[in-house]
Symmetry: C2
Subunit: 201 residues, 2 copies
């Protein structure tokens, strides 16, 4: 029996992907659903919608609410929160390292640690030094992980994941998709997505 | 003691305002929070952001997800759902009638009935005949209600409410604001908004 599976699509630059990443492990375990972490890049998808940056920057009222809402949400969830100086950050390096890590069993812990560094501690994740520090914090050897992230195979995989996200109709992050291609958008949809995944397994 | 108060801001054209309107009565009662229904017009606020129609129409991938998500949400809540032929509809008449009704004790029932007619039964709410039918369904006399809705006082009130919404930083609907001007956006934020309102009372 294959069991229920849910794909968790996120971009490291996405604010609401932070609480989703921190919540999904426990909730999926309770729901007996296997989660696949699927980092991708929102940039190319935003460009197709005519956006050159995050809609939270394009529409200041929306952005003001988002930061305040995220702060409230983190307080409620008991998650650290610190707004980084720049938003959105370039998530390319983190996404590539994550893909390398997901092949070797440390990907999910790395993803959560990157989100926590960025939105919990206000760190700059497009700086290789931050990524190296995150890896060291997980007792991982930074140099080979960073090297693996720059391999042609990983670069191609990230492009493919982003194209797959687009084909599935994704337009934002976090998003969740099920085996029958049902799409759920937003941290608020994590619970219904898990219920749906369970229903079609 | 004045007790906790929450302002519920909505536009009748707004899809997610439908489940919010249908849920808020019971949830507010359970939370011992008094709710004030505040119909307003999103159109002028969207225009300020450079949008000539709903973002769900401007961004088709977002729109496809919204309709499917609303359908799933209504199924989960046990609410009828039928997508109207046109979206967004002109909500001016319904908003004016609602303001007239809120002065006379039948406003909240009218608001819920208009949302149910539009998104539960796929009706055209910018047709005065639909509004008259909704009023009759509530055992109300349609003619005086429609006449009151066209009074200068009501027209001015709707303009004022829309300007107040803008001053409070609203950029979408449904939204909720508390006595200390905390802003919550979206049907998903109804519960946290009620908790906040309770905390500051």
């Amino acid at each position: 029996m294959p069991g229920a599976v849910l794909d968790f699509w996120f971009d490291f630059a996405s604010t609401y992907s932070y609480p989703a990443a921190m919540r999904i492990g426990t909730l999926a375990e309770q729901a007996h659903v296997r989660v696949r972490f699927r980092p991708f890049l929102l940039g190319p998808i935003f460009k197709l919608q005519g956006w050159t940056t995050s809609p939270f920057n394009l529409y200041p009222a929306k952005g003001r609410h988002m930061w305040r809402d995220l702060e409230r949400l983190c307080a409620e969830l008991g998650l650290p929160f610190q707004r980084p100086a720049t938003f959105p950050q370039n998530s390319l390096l983190a996404a590539r390292v994550a893909l390398a890590g997901l092949d070797h069993g440390w990907g999910e812990a790395f993803c959560c640690a990157v989100f926590r560094a960025q939105f919990g501690n206000g760190r700059t994740i497009d700086d290789p030094a931050t990524i190296a520090a995150v890896l060291s914090g997980l007792a991982l050897d930074a140099a080979p992980a960073l090297a693996a992230a720059q391999s042609d195979a990983i670069k191609a995989r990230l492009r493919e994941q982003t194209e797959e996200a687009q084909r599935l109709g994704l337009f934002g992050a976090p998003s969740f998709t099920t085996a029958d291609k049902e799409l759920f958008w937003g941290n608020d949809r994590l619970e219904p997505a898990l219920r749906w995944a369970k229903g079609v397994s």
